[in-house]
């Protein structure tokens, strides 16, 4: 990170009853970064976001945004944040236009003032501007929510799982919009369970079970994958997985679409030997070297529920 620190999070912990949602989380986010929190449901993303947007208090630790404390200076921060929580997608019985007007007015702004920010997004919505929000498709709702969060030109945009339940195309478009916004000078923090979206961020924090596992640029995370990664392919996918899982030479075997990504227990072992061994059972098997992606890294450093 090469710009000034904009958000400073220092050992934040949060519990609900005896469930520990956040476990001493610390990290820094720079001005004008497009920063992503990648992790499954229950990882703590929403809790962290709610603390940063001053909606809930941490049990311990502190955080500042642009130097303002999230606990003490909540009034100031609430003027300059744009926040869209996960499950809420605006007032269902108001139209697209009415929703936008409302959010603009709440922040003492109007649609004209910052229209340039939302123009490219709103152009998709314009033909539907009189339609009730309830009748929009999932992707449209997300776009409208984004416009409403932006309309007052916040310094910091906080988006909690804005792409959940949205199809691949709409997600892709959404991230293009986010990048443009970052280019316009807005700092953006986003949470998402989709690992492939991590590569679209400037920097990323992998989070699971209330802990941050790593913080780095997407490339940095991939570079830190410390095993050689191979891809195994065969038409008999489920048989292949069983074979690999039971082979003691193989450290990990995870399905990734068409192929199975494997790492070896001992890098000294020759992959060709393994390949020819397994080919006796599955003749159409091929194994080749491949590059890891964020999900490979997540699987390596993270764990499944209850493990």
């Amino acid at each position: 990170m090469n710009n000034e620190i904009y958000i400073h999070i220092d050992k934040i912990s949060k519990s609900y009853g005896n469930v520990l949602a956040l476990d001493s989380v610390s990290l820094d986010i720079g001005k004008n970064e497009l920063f992503g929190f990648i992790g499954p449901d229950g990882a703590g993303k929403t809790s962290l976001f709610r603390i940063l947007t001053t909606l809930i208090l941490p049990n311990s630790g502190s955080a500042t945004i642009a130097g303002y404390d999230v606990v003490k200076d909540y009034k100031i921060l609430r003027h300059n944040l744009g926040y869209m929580p996960g499950k809420f997608s605006l007032y269902q019985d108001l139209s697209v236009e009415e929703n936008l007007k409302f959010f603009a007015s709440v922040f003492g702004s109007n649609i004209k003032e910052n229209y340039y920010l939302i123009e490219s997004i709103y152009s998709h919505l314009e033909p539907f501007k009189k339609r009730r929000a309830a009748q929009l498709s999932g992707g449209m709702k997300q776009k409208l929510a984004l416009c409403c969060a932006l309309i007052h030109k916040p310094d910091l945009l906080v988006l909690d799982e804005p792409t959940t339940g949205v199809d691949a195309v709409s997600r892709y478009e959404f991230w293009i919009m986010l990048k443009k916004l970052r280019d316009n000078g807005i700092t953006i923090i986003v949470s998402t369970p989709y690992m492939d979206e991590a590569s679209l961020c400037d920097r990323v924090a992998l989070i699971q079970n209330g802990k941050i596992m790593t913080v780095d640029s997407p490339q940095g995370i991939v570079d830190s994958f410390n095993y050689k990664l191979y891809a195994a392919k065969s038409n008999y996918k489920s048989d292949l997985i069983t074979l690999l899982e039971n082979d003691t030479r193989i450290r990990s075997a995870f399905a990734f679409g068409e192929t199975i990504h494997i790492t070896l227990m001992d890098e000294a072992i020759s992959i060709e030997v393994i390949e020819s061994d397994l080919k006796n059972i599955l003749p159409d098997l091929t194994i080749f070297r491949t590059n890891p992606n964020i999900e490979d890294c997540f699987l390596q450093i993270g764990s499944g529920d209850g493990k």
């Binding site: 499954p40 449901d41 199809d167 679409g257 068409e258 993270g302 529920d305």
Partner: protein, 246 residues
């Protein structure tokens, strides 16, 4: 694959809501024991079509046979032969694991003894030994979804419909879930699944993509990638639905 039995036959399915055509002349078949991926953009008409196949919604016109029953005239018989699970709702949060299993077992007409013996099997498979008496809301989401799937196939249905079953689940558990799907398919249950994870599309035997109420692609993932000259199902999807992005 073509010499397998057809378990779902859809011919010219049309569903209209007033003027709006949600499903526009859909025609496709699903074979017994297949893992069939049903993809599409939001608002493309996937949910509507799935509801019709499950006997939850009446088609406007067309011939739809699910597990041998006509969806327009015998929706109740369809329901007896299928399982269903969605991301939004799986199990009752204020009941325990065992209570949920017993309940669904009862709904589908399993006897007490059948339920008892299968419970043991299921708990082992899902791996939640020791947590049988926990309330569902106390379980982490990954286990909830795996359990929900196990319950959906508890009564050995011919087809199980899964509506975005792995939303928000961690990557490790997602793979375990798909392991369970493969096991179910091997034992003869047809799996009809919708998902927004494009890598999961690769796990399916065949995939259909809907756009604007119509089916615009239907083939194996390998053939689709060849046809559209791209490397991943993600790119296939984008190329079909919004080619200008690529």
């Amino acid at each position: 694959m073509e010499n397998r039995q057809k378990i779902i036959e859809v011919t010219n399915l049309v569903k209209r809501f007033g003027d709006f055509v949600a499903n526009d002349n859909l025609t496709f078949d699903v074979y017994e024991g297949e893992v069939f991926g049903f993809l599409g953009a939001n608002g493309a008409g996937k949910t509507t079509a799935m509801r019709i196949l499950c006997g939850l919604l009446h088609p406007t016109s067309g011939k739809i046979l699910v597990a041998g029953w006509d969806a327009a005239t015998h929706p109740e018989d369809i329901k007896k032969n299928i399982g269903y699970m969605s991301q939004k709702f799986s199990l009752y949060e204020d009941m325990t694991v065992i209570e949920n299993i017993r309940f669904y077992g009862g709904i589908y007409g399993l006897s007490r003894t059948e339920v008892k013996s299968k419970i043991k099997e299921m708990i082992e498979k899902v791996g939640i030994g020791g947590l049988e008496n926990k309330l569902i809301r106390e379980l982490p989401i990954g286990w909830k979804q795996k359990l929900a799937f196990a319950v959906a196939i508890f009564h050995d249905p011919k087809i199980v419909f899964l509506d975005e079953p792995t939303g928000g689940v961690d990557p490790f558990t997602r793979r375990q879930f798909w392991g369970m799907i493969y096991d179910a398919a091997k034992s003869g249950i047809t799996v009809f699944v919708t998902t927004h994870y494009m890598d999961e599309a690769e796990y399916c035997d065949r995939v259909s993509i809907m756009d604007n109420g119509k089916i615009v692609a239907l083939d194996t993932p390998a053939n689709l990638k060849k046809q559209f000259a791209v490397a991943s199902m993600n790119d296939v999807f984008i190329k079909i639905v919004r080619p200008e992005l690529l």
